[in-house]
């Protein structure tokens, strides 16, 4: 078994094709078994999913795991995807659930770490380093549901209605979560801005 001369140009691989605009028919085609449509969905959404997962989990490796798991579940769940539903909230609901599961797993691991360990990024924070790093440090310090609501609203630009449909939380509760996240960010970042002129 085994070949003599491989040639990449002879074997074009569909997932190398770039996608600039999302074709809203792709989820429906994928639901009906069009594998190329599923590949295009992965190509299109992977960077956004990674951004959300990285911001939620604070770890590239965990983010990759969450996104991979999410797409496996998306594929498995396509038969239940309603064709009149919007794809974004459905995908992000699955991804957010994976992130929550990983956060819970990480919390259990963290529980066995000796109390008093310096949290990741704290040294940079004390040194007044990068402003963007400060944002991440504050974000990591927020309760997971506040972080999730803030990211979906202000980074992923989703409407409260979509976030409510995704998370099952009420609109008022979501607005409160986002407000508290914003308050925490403002408090710390205003301080950092003042310290660094």
């Amino acid at each position: 078994m085994g070949g003599s001369r491989g040639n990449l140009t002879q074997y074009p691989v569909a997932h190398r094709v770039s996608v600039s605009e999302f074709d809203s028919s792709l989820p429906i085609r994928a639901k009906h078994g069009d594998e190329q449509a599923f590949i295009r969905i992965v190509e299109f959404y992977y960077p956004r999913c990674m951004r959300f997962a990285r911001n939620m989990l604070g770890s590239e490796q965990d983010a990759e795991e969450a996104v991979q798991d999410a797409f496996v579940r998306v594929y498995d769940s396509f038969p239940r995807f309603r064709e009149d539903a919007r794809f974004d909230p459905w995908l992000f609901r699955i991804l957010a659930n994976r992130c929550r599961s990983l956060l819970a797993r990480n919390e259990r691991r963290r529980a066995v770490i000796e109390y008093g360990d310096v949290p990741h990024g704290a040294a940079d924070s004390e040194a007044g380093a990068d402003w963007a790093e400060e944002v991440r440090v504050v974000l990591e310090s927020l309760p997971a549901e506040q972080r999730e609501a803030f990211l979906l609203r202000h980074v992923e630009d989703m409407s409260y209605e979509d976030i409510a449909a995704m998370t099952g939380a009420g609109l008022s509760a979501l607005r409160m979560r986002v407000k508290r996240a914003c308050d925490a960010l403002r408090a710390r970042l205003t301080e950092v801005s003042r310290d660094h002129g």
């Binding site: 085994g2 990449l8 691989v13 997932h15 590949i39 992977y46 402003w131 609203r153």
Partner: protein, 199 residues
């Protein structure tokens, strides 16, 4: 009413978190391999047989194997009634079709080593991925023979039909040019088919 105020501080914070990292090489391929592996793990026996029957690209050989599969199924049905034998293999001139063991089956057929060779001069890395190693990109990395020659690796697979491909540079799935193509291209590119015989 809680106001959703997006002032300059929040604007800057959101901007800092909004950067989309460039897509790392192989990221999408790894997702597709994971989907394929998950699907393969969950597929019931009848569906695996169905996929096999879709492999029309192997034409005459496939036709022979389809006959063999039909005979094997018949053999299984008859055997299930007539005896306690649980592992069913049907041998033909075209190869061996291994059906999944039924309940209370004895040990599965022993996996055997299969040497794989693939020649692609400009590849930086090549790995063999297939249903026998869960489509795991790290399971069977290939090495150049003599440091500069064709890529080579030995995998272990149980007797029966397997689909596989070569993962080049962690990003591209390339079918084996000298093996029959799997008629169902599956995720992330083409795959090849091999039949592993009982040692």
């Amino acid at each position: 009413m809680i106001m959703d105020e997006r002032d300059e501080t929040i604007e800057r914070a959101a901007e800092a978190l909004s950067a989309l990292a460039p897509l790392k090489g192989g990221a999408v391929a790894r997702v597709l391999l994971a989907v394929r592996a998950a699907r393969a793990r969950r597929a019931p026996v009848w569906l695996r047989v169905s996929w096999w029957m879709q492999d029309t690209s192997v034409s005459a050989r496939a036709a022979g194997l389809m006959v063999a599969a039909s005979l094997a199924v018949g053999f299984v049905l008859r055997g299930a009634v007539a005896s306690d034998e649980n592992i069913r293999l049907a041998r033909t001139g075209g190869g061996i079709v291994a059906l999944q063991p039924v309940a209370n089956a004895p040990a599965e057929p022993q996996a055997v080593p299969v040497s794989m060779v693939f020649d692609l001069a400009n590849a930086r890395s090549v790995a063999v991925v297939g249903d026998f190693n869960g489509w795991d990109p790290s399971a069977a990395p290939m090495k150049r023979i003599g440091g500069t020659g064709p890529w080579s690796a030995t995998v272990v697979a149980r007797p029966g039909r397997h689909t596989y491909a070569f993962l080049v540079d962690g990003t591209m799935l390339v079918a084996d040019p000298l093996a029959p193509r799997a008629g169902n291209p599956d995720f992330g590119g083409d795959a090849s088919v091999m039949m592993v015989r009982t040692p």
